[in-house]
Amino acid sequence: MTSRRLSRFLFASPWVLSFVIFWAFPLLYSLWMGFTDYRLLSRSGPEWVGFDNYVALFSDSDFLNSLKNTFIFVIGTIPVTTVIALALALLVNREFKGRGIFRSAYFLPWVTSMVVVALIFTNLFQRGGYIALLAQMVGLDVPTHGFLYDSSTALYSIMAMDVWMAVGYYMLIFLAGLKAIPDELYEAAEISGASSLRQFFTITLPLLRPVALFILVINSIKSFQVFVEIFVMTKGKFDTSTVVYFIYETGLQTQFKFGYASAAAYVLFVIIGLFSLLQFTVIRRRQPLW
């Protein structure tokens, strides 16, 4: 090995080492554990059980329910977050007095700790909380014991909080995308007599496609991994358990079934991979989407 190649290798090795120790090894080790019956409290060591954990997962009502809730969360939050973020980006992209304040205000929830936000919203959603009072004022039915203590509203309440928190971040990314669109295109469209709506659908949206792809993929991965808000606000009760919460409960809380939890983690890994692939495939089509 030449000294040049050696020095390259040495410079890269700290990162490679940390990647191997903290990422690659745990990733492969947990893949292997998913095929064993490993329980932390077991007297015997892990034994190979093949696909038994995966088969058991798909007949485990708790896991299936967590999977259902995760999909509801993902499908419910991503379109709403994306549309609101785009709308806000279009609004704050215009010239008006104090728009910097609006941009900061929308972005502020994102830089606040999720635990803090979740605790505040737990109070807002409870009986007598501001959201419950507001809902009553506009004539909505409020669950007797508050939004988080009712299976029909708990998950949707958490989803609403999540949208509120995330929308500012994605707004900022859309805003960066909007700034990158050359003004000449809009000037040409105006000269051709295109209306604002037509400009939006023929210029803005198509050119925001890479940004939208990034947002959809990032938001999907984040939403599939939803955990902190569930942990803080409901502990998975009232039909709010998600896959990551299920993994935490199974692997680290009371049961310490590492093998089973690892299998669940890999099911989620595959789902996220497939979902991202689907998004890439659909959005990267050459034909216009809108």
């Binding site: 409290l41 077991s42 299976s151 502990k235 998975g236 809380q253 009371t254």
Partner: protein, 405 residues
């Protein structure tokens, strides 16, 4: 020269052996600023009394202490002495992580309560330290508002339900609820239901542990009554939320532990407090009990020293010091219970009496799963569409499957 060298090594090794000190690793949960100094001084005094033993204390938290203990044992780097909650003993005993102490402690059980919770399959695995139970707390002002005289306390379920009903009727317009009802909080909801369940005479298993009988008629009656309190008079919140509401005068009756007395004292709460035993159809009923225990790791190389240490920590004098610092009401030591600190306080006396009429869930390594099913049944009945009978029957079937596995 060679001989001199060997001699020097032998002398050095011998010296090292003579002055060798044992270091005990103790994992414990008490980090409260009011309690930690007492823990530290108990350790310091132990080390002074046993100069050849050092104690290295590791503080755990309630949020992740259980995980750390499990991981510590699994990795072979666990402690010599560990504080365990009563629910965990069977799990660690069955997996061979904690030592069977029957021969060491079995002959000296008379002065302590709580051995039933430390005994798994006939063997003792830990020494009881600080116990805990739940009693009924009432707001005396609310009782007066509801028309009860100033010394009245319920001694049967009929009177208990009537008091809750009357407080709620008299106070709801002022924002006062009759009963503090727990939401579906993991590890908490079932502890509130089981006193009703046991007091109605229901059991989780048959006496021979062959069958689960969770959906007996008595159990269904218990859940019906519990649901009725929840639906009609319940201020539903987390345990902390219920206690806040009670201390703020928004709830008339709650079931709670000795930590509530600590809160009242430390937060200087102005509440006209009454406490009484959990009533039952006949007085008294059966409340829930648990506790903190000290166990020794099966892998410990210092078993004798560890035994000496846990005997020191759980001595009546040290339990008393601990209870005074933590305002705990239930030392496991019967001698400590006789101290004027407990005898002169009417509320602490309620706890001392209640623990004699309290039960603990079965000491079973699968209790975490069983507990989950019971909690789910209560949750279905209170917050879902499930009828008490069907919810309990479903849980019974699930528990039977767990037992078969």
């Amino acid at each position: 020269m060679k001989r001199v060298l060997i001699l020097a090594i032998v002398v050095l090794l011998a010296g090292a052996t003579v002055s060798a000190e044992t270091t005990l690793e103790w994992w414990q949960f008490w980090t409260d600023p009011a309690v930690k100094p007492v823990i530290d001084s108990i350790v310091t005094e132990f080390e002074s009394a046993h100069p050849d033993i050092n104690v290295n204390v590791t503080d755990l938290t309630w949020s992740n202490g259980h995980e750390k203990i499990v991981i510590g044992f699994a990795s072979g780097r666990g402690p010599d002495v560990v504080e365990l909650g009563s629910d965990w003993i069977a799990q660690f005993a069955a997996s061979g992580q904690i030592a069977d102490l029957t021969d060491d402690l079995g002959a000296d059980t008379a002065g302590f309560q709580g051995w039933d919770m430390a005994t798994y399959e006939g063997a003792i695995y830990a020494r009881p330290w600080i116990l805990g139970t739940r009693v009924v707390f009432l707001n005396r002002d609310h009782l007066t508002l509801a028309g009860f005289d100033t010394t009245w306390l319920p001694v049967s379920f009929a009177q208990f339900y009537d008091a809750i009903h009357r407080i709620d009727s008299a106070g709801r317009s002022q924002g006062i609820y009759g009963w503090g009802s727990n939401t579906a909080e993991k590890h908490r909801l079932y502890k509130k239901f089981l006193p009703f369940f046991w007091s109605y005479g229901a059991q989780i298993f048959t006496d021979d542990r062959e069958y689960c009988v969770l959906s007996s008629l008595m159990a269904v009656e218990a859940l019906k009554q519990y649901k009725k309190l929840h639906d009609l008079y319940g201020y539903v919140d987390s345990q902390r939320g219920i206690e806040d509401a009670f201390l703020n005068g928004n709830v008339g009756v709650i079931l709670s532990g000795d930590w509530l007395l600590k809160r009242i004292e430390l937060e200087d709460r102005d509440i006209n407090l009454a406490s009484t035993l959990f009533p039952g159809p006949q007085y008294p009923g059966r409340s829930f009990k648990g506790g903190e225990f000290l166990a020794i790791s099966e892998m410990s190389d210092h078993r004798e020293e560890a035994l000496t240490f846990i005997e020191f920590v759980t001595s009546p004098e040290n339990q008393l010091r601990f209870c005074k610092a933590n305002r705990s009401a239930n030392p496991s030591s019967l001698t400590a219970q006789q101290d004027a600190y407990f005898q002169d306080n009417i509320h602490l006396q309620t706890f001392i009496k209640q623990i004699q009429f309290a039960k603990h869930p079965p000491v079973d390594p699968d209790w975490v799963y069983i507990e989950d099913e019971i909690e789910q049944a209560v949750e279905d009945a209170l917050f879902g569409d499930g009828l008490p009978a069907t919810a309990l029957l479903k849980a019974q079937q699930q528990i039977s499957e767990i037992m078969e596995q």
